[in-house]
Amino acid sequence: MAKCKSCVVLPFLVGLVASIVLGWWGFPKVLYSQKTQPIRFDHVVHVEDQAMACEDCHAFRDDGSYAGMPTNANCVGCHEDVQGEDPDEARYVAEYVQQEKEVEWLGYQKQPDNVYFSHIAHKELDCTSCHPDVANMSTPPVYYENRLSGYSKDTMKMWQCEECHAQSGASNACFVCHK
């Protein structure tokens, strides 16, 4: 009987542990592909050395909705020609500015199209409450793309919005976010 009991319990435990390990460690590696930004953008150089503010490049529309990533129009004022010795800057000028091609930046928090998010309504919060603190990064973080859904790993889920709204007393009615 003892032998019989160990041949049931032990495999069960092995399966249980292996499954938990694979589920928490292996599954994310399978689910997400890793991508890097097309050009390494050094935020530190711009924020600390050039004293630029987030709003200088990341502008919102009048209604506070997302206006998209900065375009070449934001950059050519300084980078029509190569300014420094950073090879990524040289590549940016050669491959994008001179060829009038926009960089396909990867947005870490881009929400689905059916979500309306006004930055003005959330202006009391720090940018880093939701976004990675890229202002202190010389190399943007790795972008994890969900192979199934196609969204960034960092895309905020609805429960996170609802939780924050509930805690701060804001309405959780559907139309607040889904116009």
Binding site: C4, C7, V8, V9, L10, P11, F12, L13, V14, G15, L16, V17, A18, S19, I20, L22, G23, W24, F27, L31, A59, R61, D62, Y66, A67, G68, M69, T71, P112, D113, N146, L148, S149, G150, Y151
Partner: protein, 686 residues
Amino acid sequence: MGLDRRSFISLVAGGVAGSLFTPVIWKTLDDVSIWTQNWPWIPRLQYGEELTFPALCKLGSDAYGVKVKTVGGRPVTAEGNPDHPLSLGGICPLGAASVHLLYSPSRVKNPKLKDGSSFKDITWAEAEELLAGKIREAGSNVAMISGDETGSVTDVLSGLVGKAGSDKSFFMPGESAPAAAALAMLGGDGQVGYDIENANYVLLLGADALGSWGNVARNGKAFSASREKGVKFVYVGPAQNGTSAVADSWVPCNTGTEPVLALGIAAVIAGTSRDRSSWPGFASFAKFVQTAYPLDKVAEITGVKAAVITGLAQELVRAGRPLVLTAAEAGQGLGAFELAAGMSLNMLLQRVNAVGGVRILPWAPKVVEAAADRKTMFANDLVAYLSSVADGGAEAPALLMVYGANPAYALPNLTKAQAAMDKAGFVVSFSSFMDETAAMADLIMPDSYAFERLDDAYSPYGSGQPNYTVVAPVIKPVFDTRPAGDVLLVVAAKAELDLGFESFEDVVKAKAEALGADFDEMVEGAAWVSEEFPAQDLALWTTPLQELAVAAKDGKSLALAPVQRLKIGSAKIAIPPFNTNAIRFDEMLGNDMYVLLNAATAKNLGLKKDDAVKIASSGGECKARVRIFEGVMNDTVVAPLGLGHTAWDAFSRDKGDNVYKLLAADTEAESGLSRFATVRVTVSKA
């Protein structure tokens, strides 16, 4: 210790149990649910900076300013431009769909040369060399057709034809030409406009001013503003339409006989006690209308009761600032005499060059020396010319150039027009779309679309004041297209014909300068408006007085009332894909279009709702289904223009039938213009 069956099941059970404590199942389910909403055909929002740019809409018969909103540099929608005098913030159904046409499946994406029954792609250099060679070969045997009465590209094209030694510069039919000829009959000279905003009584004789006639957006704004001011709008026409639906009253009138009604009203007004004996031409005019158009005769021809005619005359006299606007329901087809009839009524009411009346606008300045001026072009009748070519009465052009027009689809005497184009030695189409004319052309040099090119517009027909608009491109060409104005100048240079300009921008600058407008301010969005109206020395109908031609009733045929509904397109544009949802089930079912008959007429013909019918005239035949609608005069059939395309795309091709086939034109002896507003047709079960 081997892995026996029991151990394996235990291992799997452990694995399953463990997975419940990981995100694998829950996360996968969540992501799958998101993935199921991520189909590639679901529209995506465009992100980026939002801007608006002034632009022009020329898709209908008029031209007016719109504002194009761009997001991230890409146009997404067009809105009315509150700063433009012909929009005042309004927009027409074609303007509302205009941005989407940028990406229409009908766009011609690059130059094409006829290759047997299809086309082969060629480069711009090849196309320009080819056309320059054809111009040199053709000598003076060239002709041009333009569908743009307002823009300077027409001047460049006409200049090219003129420099080659030809006077064959034509516009597509419209009401500018008969209006100008009518004004000339009364001794005037200029472009006819209507100051609807400042009138306090507007009698619309046939003009579907709120649906398709003239400056539709501006008309709508003027009507809207009139509600608070107590201005009365009266619509006269054979069928209820968008204008009659909101006008203060609708006076049913037999198709195309609105000018007769105008003369009947004139007879009543001329008979009032006011002394007009000193007015030039009044005596003979009054005698003519009172003799030729007594009330009972007018009532019989028009179907309008004598008391109603008298009432309209009294209202006009009492109004103070009345305005009479005469037009065909379809915005074309009236002769000059017919338009002069309505104009005479305005003269009798002393409403010419008066605030709230008919305004005479100066002609656009001519900057391309070799081009025919607008007045000359309006006098050249395209329908008569093509009919003559088809019949062998005139030599077919060795080279025919078509810009902004679709004569292979949208002309009366259509069979003859198509035959004449077939006889032309070489046909070139400057079209943004694969329309019927492009499809039959030998060479297509695709024009950049409205928002991709510099363009201008001088006082579209109906404008109440002289105005000029210049717009810069909103976006770079989406496909390998080029603005026709620039292409024509390049080709002219290659053919060694000097038009005096190197770029189209120079032409527009010269026109702006000639008007005293600031080009730089205009491309930023400022419209030029003038309040100068050339003085006119008019006399009541100075040409030989004669009765208007009215198609005789024969008891078997019906009067055809062709109508324009801008949502389904115009003479230039087929159904915009964006507008297909606006077409009602009782306007089109499947691929069958509906024509309207009232119940009495349908009963006489043995027809009932949804019956398939054949409509025939001396010009051709159409197929349709019957819709019973009591807002139509007896013995009248209302049929929509703009359907039945054989080219374009799946949104338009073979949808309904082409009513232009039914429009048989005759030539007005005095003016030489074609008239086709009173066509009679037979309607029988198909």
